[in-house]
C-alpha cells in the first residue's frame, strides 16, 4: 500500500530543498516526496509548471498534500491543482500550515498510512484558525 505523497512549494528553491531534506531525515523514505521553488526564470517565486511536475513526482493514488510558504505559492498551487484532470484534482490538497513544520508533520502522518484528510488535518493543526 502506497502512502500519501507530500509536495513542498517555496518561493526559494533552497528553502524547499532544505525542508525536503528535513522530511527525509526525520521521516524516512516511505513517503513520496517532491519539492520545487523559484519562478520560471529561476528567481524567487513559484511556477505552476514546476508545481505540476512536483505533483507528478510525488504522485500517490492515495493523494498528495502540498505545503506552501507565502501568498503566491498558495495561489499558484491551487491553480496547478485545478489544471490537473478531474480524477487527480480531487486527490490533491493545499494545506494551510507553515511549510517546514507542516511538511514534517504531514509526512510523519502519511508514513503511518494515514488518509489524505488525516494528513491534511495533522498539518493544519499547526495553524490555529
Amino acid at each position: 500500500m502506497k502512502n500519501v505523497g507530500i509536495v513542498i512549494v517555496s518561493h526559494s528553491p533552497l528553502v524547499a530543498e532544505g525542508a525536503a531534506s528535513m522530511v527525509r531525515q526525520m521521516v524516512g523514505d516511505d513517503v513520496p516526496l517532491a519539492w520545487c521553488g523559484g519562478n520560471p526564470e529561476g528567481g524567487l517565486g513559484t511556477s505552476v509548471e514546476a508545481i505540476l511536475a512536483a505533483i507528478d513526482r510525488a504522485w500517490s493514488d492515495r493523494g498528495v498534500a502540498i505545503l506552501v510558504d507565502l501568498g503566491g505559492a498558495e495561489t499558484n498551487s491551487e491553480m496547478a491543482v485545478e489544471m490537473l484532470d478531474g480524477d487527480r484534482a480531487h486527490k490533491v490538497v493545499v494545506c494551510n500550515a507553515p511549510v517546514v513544520e507542516g511538511a514534517v508533520m504531514a509526512a510523519t502522518e502519511a508514513s503511518g498510512g494515514a488518509s489524505l484528510a488525516e494528513v491534511r488535518a495533522t498539518a493544519e493543526e499547526l495553524s490555529p484558525a
Binding site: 519562478n39 520560471p40 526564470e41 517565486g45 513559484t46 505552476v48 498558495e74 495561489t75 499558484n76 491553480m79
Partner: protein
C-alpha cells in the same frame, strides 16, 4: 463585434504598457509587497506577446484561454493565477455565450475574486475590476469607464490591505497605491485603446 485581431492589438498594447511601467509597478510593490510585480507582469506579457501569432490565429474565446494559460505558466507570482483566471474565464464565458462581453467580464472578475479568496475594498486589483464591471453594466462611455478605473486605483491608497503580502503590514499598508490595482488600470487602458 470583438475578434482575435482586437485581442492581438490589445496584447501588443498591454505588453508595451507593462514594459514601460515595470519599474513603477516594482516600486509600488516594494513599498507593500515583495517587489516583483513589475518583473513578473513583464515576464508574463512578454511571453504572451512572443506567442502572439499562434494565439491570434485562434477564435477569440480560444485565444483568450491561451493568453490565460500562458500567464499562469510564466508570471511566477500570485498575479499569474489571478490575471490568468481573468483571461481563462473570459474565454470560457465567451465560448458559451459569444458577444456577451459585459456578462463574461463580470464572471471573470468573480472568478478572480474566488481565486484570490478576496473581495472588493481589500486593496487588491478587485478594487478596480469591480467598479469597471459596474460601469460597463451601466452602459458608461469608454471615457467614463477609464475615469472610474483611474479613481478606483487612487482609492486604494488610503485603504488597508487585507489580502496578500501587503496584509502583513497592517496599517502600514495605508498610504500606498496597490500595485495590482495599478497594473489592472494599465490593462484596462490598453484594451480601451484598441476596442471599437
Amino acid at each position: 463585434m470583438i475578434d482575435s485581431h482586437h485581442l492581438r492589438a490589445a496584447i501588443v498594447a498591454i505588453a508595451a504598457s507593462v514594459s514601460a511601467h515595470a519599474e513603477e509597478l516594482t516600486a509600488l510593490d516594494s513599498a507593500i509587497g515583495d517587489g516583483d510585480h513589475g518583473a513578473n507582469m513583464k515576464r508574463g506579457f512578454d511571453a504572451v506577446a512572443a506567442d502572439l501569432d499562434a494565439i491570434s490565429a485562434k477564435p477569440l474565446a480560444e485565444a483568450l484561454k491561451a493568453v490565460g494559460t500562458k500567464l499562469v505558466m510564466t508570471v511566477g507570482g500570485a498575479s499569474g493565477p489571478l490575471y490568468g483566471t481573468l483571461f481563462l474565464t473570459l474565454g470560457k464565458e465567451l465560448a458559451a455565450n459569444p458577444e456577451a462581453y459585459v456578462a463574461a467580464y463580470r464572471k471573470a472578475v468573480d472568478a478572480v475574486a474566488a481565486r484570490g479568496k478576496s473581495e472588493i475594498n481589500q486593496k487588491t486589483l478587485l478594487d478596480v475590476l469591480y467598479p469597471v464591471a459596474d460601469a460597463l453594466e451601466a452602459g458608461a462611455s469608454k471615457a467614463d469607464v477609464l475615469a472610474v478605473a483611474g479613481a478606483a486605483v487612487a482609492g486604494t491608497k488610503d485603504r488597508k490591505a487585507i489580502r496578500g503580502r501587503a496584509s502583513f503590514l497592517g496599517d502600514r499598508s495605508i498610504g500606498h497605491v496597490d500595485p495590482g490595482a495599478r497594473s489592472s488600470l494599465l490593462l484596462i487602458e490598453a484594451v480601451a485603446g484598441v476596442l471599437p
